[in-house]
Symmetry: D3
Subunit: 121 residues, 6 copies
């Protein structure tokens, strides 16, 4: 299974279509370099990689991309608790406002996943 199939799950096709429509070259770089070259490297398991991605995205303050990897972390095997710990810890390094915004977003992600009409049941 490709790394993006693992992280994007049932949304993979929709995300790929959307990225391709935004910019074909950027899509290609994200797919071939970011996901299938760098994130696919051995040496660190995908769950740890997704927790690192969450931390980087809390630092950037990019909510949409953060939501993608909050979901991605759960898909590749992180527990809700591990994601919460990752966000809590970010308060120490990046400040409470960033951690709080991320935790609110995670709450929304969890609610979305719980909803059966999201097709994930």
């Amino acid at each position: 299974m490709s790394v993006r199939a693992a992280i994007w799950g049932e949304k993979a096709e929709a995300i790929e279509e959307s990225l391709k429509a935004v910019d074909e070259d950027l899509f290609r770089y994200i797919r071939d370099f970011a996901y299938e070259e760098v994130l696919a490297r051995p040496g660190l398991d995908l769950k740890t990689r997704e927790l690192l991605a969450i931390t980087a995205l809390i630092a950037l303050g990019s909510p949409k991309e953060l939501a993608t990897h909050l979901e991605g972390a759960l898909r590749v095997g992180a527990t809700e608790r591990e994601v919460r710990e990752t966000i809590l810890q970010s308060a120490l390094f990046l400040g409470f406002p960033r951690a709080l915004a991320a935790m609110k977003l995670f709450q929304k992600v969890l609610k979305g996943r719980g909803a059966p009409h999201e097709g994930e049941g």
Copy 2:
């Protein structure tokens, strides 16, 4: 063993003395809240916590604090490879300049550790 003993290793006493001399209250917050409350939480192992700390510090671009946690990651059991993967991945989220600066710093940390006169042999 306290979390700071694990992360700071043989430098713990020197770091504590130095922090205390800088500001007693900030030292107390770093010791009691950051290290012994938040970083000491169960739910995520200390090695993963240190890799997350490295990512946050690459985002901040804070070289001294980054060096502390690059060493700390190795002390709590991360392999050189795992630290390199953490830094490499940060290029995707935080850009190549930040990743490159962090990798140069890690090279210095590795050289410092290898030196027997550093008292770590």
Copy 3:
């Protein structure tokens, strides 16, 4: 009166309920460490502390948390003029785009406060 009662005003209960629902531990850290330990320290009056918070949040670019402290500054006695000066000055250090976004947000906060149905009249 607690520091959060002073800063959050009539919204204190709603904010606490909402934070608690997001994450109990993060709520506890924000309440006990951020508000009632650090922001409650003597040595700097609460109005100055809120103007400093506004500056930090303009730097982070976190609109929701910024709105909380724009309101908070007014509640603990800052004048509209003092808040405007704080935002204007941030243009020098953090650039015009951040200052402009903050000033637009402050305009919304002021309109919200003026509305009698907000229950603050």
Copy 4:
């Protein structure tokens, strides 16, 4: 033609009214210092200046101000391709999440411009 007339185009009057209503002094600084003093300097053409502005705004992660200059770049003669290249390149320095968010925003800007009811036909 003033620099702001060139960058803001047919929206100039609306933007000026809106800025003035937000804060008269900030408006004055943006108009007289930012636009008509610094951006109006010779030594670099306005198209290059707008591509630089786009890069700075991708770094800040400020979507509204970024949209203004994505449009502005097109108005002062940048091609769609040049704007795309500017955004693509930002991935190297500022990371993929920031570049992707900017490219999605540019897609919206392009759609808005194409719409005849926007009064730009």
Copy 5:
């Protein structure tokens, strides 16, 4: 007394000469716009303005410019305690690493001021 005379103190002439040698136009903007227009505005006292500047510079992580305003805050009447409180509070919003780096820098500034050979006695 000009605002820069108040903030730069006995170093004013040296700083002006150095800025002018770096870039005459940037020097002129810093002198005429940043210091004598914006920082000179009434509506907020200079001590508060310097504490705000310190917060913004901790966010940016710019050590040289931060040192200038740590000294400047003391010159315009902030106590050592007020500066320490400003730095301590920044840990909440901007994270401990930034606050710690700033406090270490302040320690150096305080030592430099205490030294009689610095010509400040």
Copy 6:
């Protein structure tokens, strides 16, 4: 000529050796993806690309990488004036402290280039 030969000039070999020693994989990504794939794209001339790189690096506050591209901009045909304008403009978007630090660094770069023993005469 490769893009890195154009940007790194007579320092190309030394930079490549140094990067390779830091991390072979990161070096490969920087060489093959960053320089020879993205920066080598047509659609934007190399001089404009280097001015964009300077802006992104001022935003990051990364002095070593910024120095590389300040020199690089001059090598691929930017005039001293164009680089100064790029830095001056960054004050509007990223604040004066970042612009000032960049201008001081550029002054050092210019002095280094002027020195005949640097092997560039």
